[in-house]
Amino acid sequence: MADIDITSQTMDGMGPHGTKVGLLRVLGPAHVWALGVGIVLVGEYMGWNFAVGKGGAYAALIACWFAGILYTCVAMIDSEVTSTVAAAGGQYTQAKHIVGPLMAFNVGLYLVFAYTMLEAANAITAGYLISVVAGMTGYAGELDQRPFIILVIMFLAWLNYRGVLATLTFNLVITAIAFIAILVLFLSTSGVLGGGIMQHAALFEGHEMPYGWIGVLAAMHFGLWYYLGIEGTTQAAEEVRSPARALPFGTLAGIMTLLIAATLTWYVCSGVLPWEFLGDGVNGSVAPLFDTARLSGSNGLIWLLGFGTLFATLASANGCINDASRAWFAMGRDKYLPGWFGAVHPRYRTPYRSIIFLVPIALIFALGAPLDQVITFSILSGLLEYTFMPLNIIMFRRKWPLNSIKRGYEHPFHPLPAVTLLALCALTFFAVFLGYGTQLVAMIGFYIVVSLWFHFWRYRFVNRGAQFTMPWPKPQGY
């Protein structure tokens, strides 16, 4: 059989044969859960509390739930499309099959930027946490954080290099510990087990909505932080044993976990820490869950939440390396980038060149860029990606209606989730514009320039026939 039959009158693409060394299909739903939740959970341990600073504690809760709706739509849409387009690259591959090459190129870059920046931010955070531990253990000098930042990136890159099963099993263990730590903190401080220390009424009195509804809108920017990265589950698509089952199961279980974790986090932190302190993530509460544990007076909780914070940070960086390298690899394999990046390690069965290539980039950002800028560029890339998703699912359902192709999962109430997601994205763009207008314009300018480069130069190298690989019928209307 020929590799590709692009002349077929009935099929949109023919699955190509000839893989001698491919990615290994060894993952299950728990690994998918660990990848998605692992990337995100650090947002519960730190970062979300900037939303409190923008609009007070209630604004942070409203942002938490609105962002929760946004990400539930993301998870539902992703589960349907990825369980059908089950290939490395996630949303990049979806865009390639459903929208077109220019969209795919942009989405691929959003993914790589969002994850690499987030990886750098996590490494910076891990370095900071280690310096805090040094201070707590009585070290009088100033700890050089750089070797620890570099070690985090090198160790996790090495783990990713050696194989996906060990990488995501490691993520599963440390993510589970970090999530259990939040549950234990809630049970211990809310009064469910023993005496509670919650003071919501006293702390909120007179500060319910310090900046009114505009504060709620501004809080949406950091409300994303509770869930940013759950869409990363899609990058495991080519390495799960059963994509149709594992991807929807892992992704939807992941968003449920995060909705619980986010709400509990808000509840325990806002019930113990004054909003002025909680909302200042730089000079106030850098790690609110850890600070809440410290105020509980229990040494056991302090250690548990200390490890939880570090583990959540490592899990996030680990998942980001996994996801960024798969997106880069998939773009290389299709020649959207040099085909050299599309190589798979013959023994470890990982995209080893993509993993190594992204290490120095992460190091440059981790060692040379300020944390808030790195995080903002990560959020902006993510937001651009979420804006693509509703358009993607609407086109997917139009071109291949239900029953025209096999889907692993069909999300309910279409097009309501797509419309809701689009509306919430528009709202969040406005919120980001209020706080980071210059960065938003700069980022969009950057993507316009690289789009022009792709259209006028790079696209000539793309293997146009080979990029459509799903054995689907021709799309309706074509």
């Binding site: 699955g15 044969h17 893989t19 001698k20 070797p147 070690l151 160790f155 890159a157 050299w340 798979v344």
Partner: protein, 55 residues
Amino acid sequence: METWQILEYAAWGASALLGLYMLIDWMKVDSSYSEDVLTSSREGELEAMTEEQHR
């Protein structure tokens, strides 16, 4: 020398070792296998096999 200073040096050393491991292994793999084999991965292999079995 304090423990944390030793840990700083240990972190530099471990980072260098891990980096070297990846670089050496990368060179070895690239020189042992042809580019044709290393970049032979194709998207949609599983879907194609399933489709063929059902035909």
